[in-house]
């Protein structure tokens, strides 16, 4: 089957380039940050089959690190974002070393427990500002000359970060490493019997996922000029699961669609107050019951069915010998 991923991605970027003409850039930046977060999460659940229920620790903690280094230490924006990303990578390595020894629900519980530890650390530590968080993080010029104080300027930088993150994940999935990941997801004992030390592959995937989740969180802190406890709560870990499921687990574009839907809902249904959570719950249930492949997954399945129908007929007509 022909691969349309790159043309679709190019079209998506083209749309996003002109989107600020119609849509409020801060909202778009929020969607992009969460889309990158969900993409990072999807690398783990969709391509390795590991359900992490603690990804907020990378997202939220990286946000604190970038906000703190930029505000308190006066680091340049780009270095602050990189610092947040780097700390998330180290945190990912530590959490990964502990968590990948377990599978299934135990893996999810270990990641959740670790994330709760990070949450309490953030709650108690001095530098995070407790309940207030770190506010009024300055937006200094990137690389010393790119002014990002205006949202529209910063939007294009966030778009570039998002695109880079997407391409890193896309390449990872379509690399020799990605092939081994798929083999592990499909049949782990068989991958072991072919001589692959699967834990090492899972660990690298975990660290990559944590790093990119950190990049998303670190960027978000600069967007909102704020790092707060919300981003390290277990609810945030749950939200990224929801985004990925709604969009389509294990699909290339699903997490982006899922993040866009959930963030849009939260924004436009904000008037309902706490009821947003109930509405989200209902959507979650509907997705699991009726659209298990998620938005993008269902579209892709439909497309395959349509092209397959034609392709198969041609195949049989062309090669009657293959039926033997």
């Amino acid at each position: 089957m022909k691969n349309y991923d790159m043309p679709i991605f190019a079209a998506l970027i083209a749309i996003l380039l002109v989107a600020p003409l119609a849509i409020y850039p801060v909202f778009l930046m929020k969607v992009l940050c969460f889309a990158l977060f969900a993409l990072a999460f999807n690398l783990l659940i969709g391509y390795v089959g590991l359900l992490s229920f603690g990804h907020a620790m990378f997202f939220g903690f990286a946000a604190y690190v970038s906000a703190y280094t930029v505000k308190a230490w006066g680091w340049p924006t780009e270095i602050g974002i990189l610092a947040g990303t780097g700390v998330a990578a180290v945190l990912g390595l530590i959490a990964g070393l502990i968590a990948i020894r377990r599978q299934g629900i135990y893996f999810a519980m270990v990641t959740l427990a670790l994330a709760q530890m990070v949450f309490f650390f953030c709650l108690q530590a001095k530098f995070t500002g407790g309940e207030d968080g770190i506010q009024a993080v300055p937006r200094r010029p990137v690389l010393g000359f790119i002014d990002i104080t205006s949202d529209i300027h910063f939007y294009y930088l966030v778009l570039a970060i998002f695109a880079a993150g997407f391409l890193i994940i896309y390449r990872t999935i379509h690399s020799p490493f990605g092939q081994v990941l798929k083999a592990i997801r499909e049949n782990e004992p068989r991958a072991i019997s072919l001589g692959y030390h699967v834990d090492r592959y899972k660990l690298l995937a975990f660290v990559l996922s944590a790093t990119l989740a950190g990049l998303a969180g670190a960027t978000k802190a600069i967007v909102f000029q704020l790092a707060s406890l919300t981003d390290v709560t277990w609810q945030m870990s749950g939200e990224v699961v929801l985004m990925t499921l709604v969009g389509g687990m294990g699909t290339v574009f699903g997490p982006i669609a899922g993040a866009a839907v959930i963030i849009t809902m939260q924004n436009y249904l904000a008037g309902f107050g706490e009821w947003v959570l109930v509405i989200q719950g209902v959507i979650f249930v509907i997705t699991v019951l009726l659209f298990r492949r998620g938005i993008v997954g269902e579209i892709a399945a439909l497309a395959t069915r349509l092209t397959r129908g034609r392709g198969e007929a041609g195949h049989i007509a062309g090669n009657p010998a293959t039926t033997s």
């Binding site: 390449r171 990872t172 379509h174 690399s175 020799p176 490493f177 990605g178 092939q179 081994v180 798929k182 083999a183 499909e186 049949n187 004992p189 068989r190 991958a191 072991i192 019997s193 072919l194 001589g195 692959y196 030390h197 699967v198 090492r200 592959y201 690298l204 990559l208 293959t322």
Partner: protein, 262 residues
């Protein structure tokens, strides 16, 4: 210890919570032979297999591969030493194509398996070899099919092809013919015989008749102990073996001994 042996186990024991599953098994698989490990249901054939391939850790005893002690190694490390196993339930990568299935085995030798920044087109260099292997086992021309679409017998063939791609020195097959029709059994037997020309094969089987003319040596296991060993002619006449098979309530085993599946 026998130096001409590919695999040697010494007093291999496996306890599960006080229950002795495998009891002092001494097994010697000579290099370049086809060795069958057979026994009625519950003989712990697969448990032995899991111990040898290190998917289970033995309670006591030693395992040697070409004279090297592998008792404490991880399963993936054992595979890297050239001892590669198959599984009782067919072990393919169901949503990958046949070509990708075989390529997974081949790509390890490139040493780029951790390279997440490299394009997967770098693996295309292996395609010719993968297609050749598929062709050799009779799966030529269907390399772009997804493994899940294959009929059961062909899946087992694909599994053997993937195993062969590693060019293992010792190949362990866990019931390669279980659940197969007569035609497929013939095909697999042929494949095993061909593969064994340049390597050692240890296979677990349920049916004595199936391995009769395939294997050089047969070890009969019952309740975790070795009860007989030797060529088919000797083993099939052994009263203990006949009792082990007939004594079970499983009628298929009895039928197997009489050669109903042959």
């Amino acid at each position: 210890m026998d130096k001409s042996a590919a695999i040697v186990t010494e007093s291999l024991v496996k306890d599960f919570k006080g229950f002795r599953a495998v009891d002092n098994v001494d097994l010697t698989v000579r290099r370049g032979t086809i060795h069958a490990l057979i026994g009625p249901n519950g003989a712990r054939k697969t448990t032995c297999f899991n111990l040898i391939t290190k998917f289970l850790q033995p309670t006591s005893g030693r395992i040697y591969l070409n004279g090297e002690d592998i008792t404490r190694l991880a399963p993936a490390s054992v595979a890297r030493l050239g001892l590669v196993r198959s599984f009782q339930i067919s072990a393919t990568f169901p949503h990958l194509t046949l070509l990708e299935n075989v390529r997974i085995a081949l790509q390890r030798q490139l040493g780029t398996s951790f390279h997440f920044w490299r394009s997967e087109t770098s693996l295309d260099a292996l395609n010719a070899r993968a297609i050749e292997i598929l062709h050799d086992v009779g799966l030529g021309g269907s390399e772009n099919l997804v493994a899940a679409e294959l009929p059961y017998g062909r899946k087992r063939v694909l599994e053997i092809a993937t195993t062969l791609a590693l060019e293992p020195e010792v190949m362990l097959l866990d019931e390669p013919m279980a659940g197969m029709g007569r035609e497929d059994i013939g095909r697999i037997s042929q494949l095993i015989r061909k593969a064994a020309k340049s390597r050692t094969v240890l296979m677990v089987e349920h049916n004595l008749s199936v391995v009769a003319d395939l294997s050089d040596t047969i070890t009969v296991l019952a309740r975790g102990r070795v009860i007989a060993e030797g060529p088919y002619a000797a083993v099939s006449q052994n009263p203990q073996v006949i009792e082990a098979y007939m004594g079970t309530t499983d009628t298929e085993s009895g039928a197997a001994l009489r050669g109903a599946h042959g």
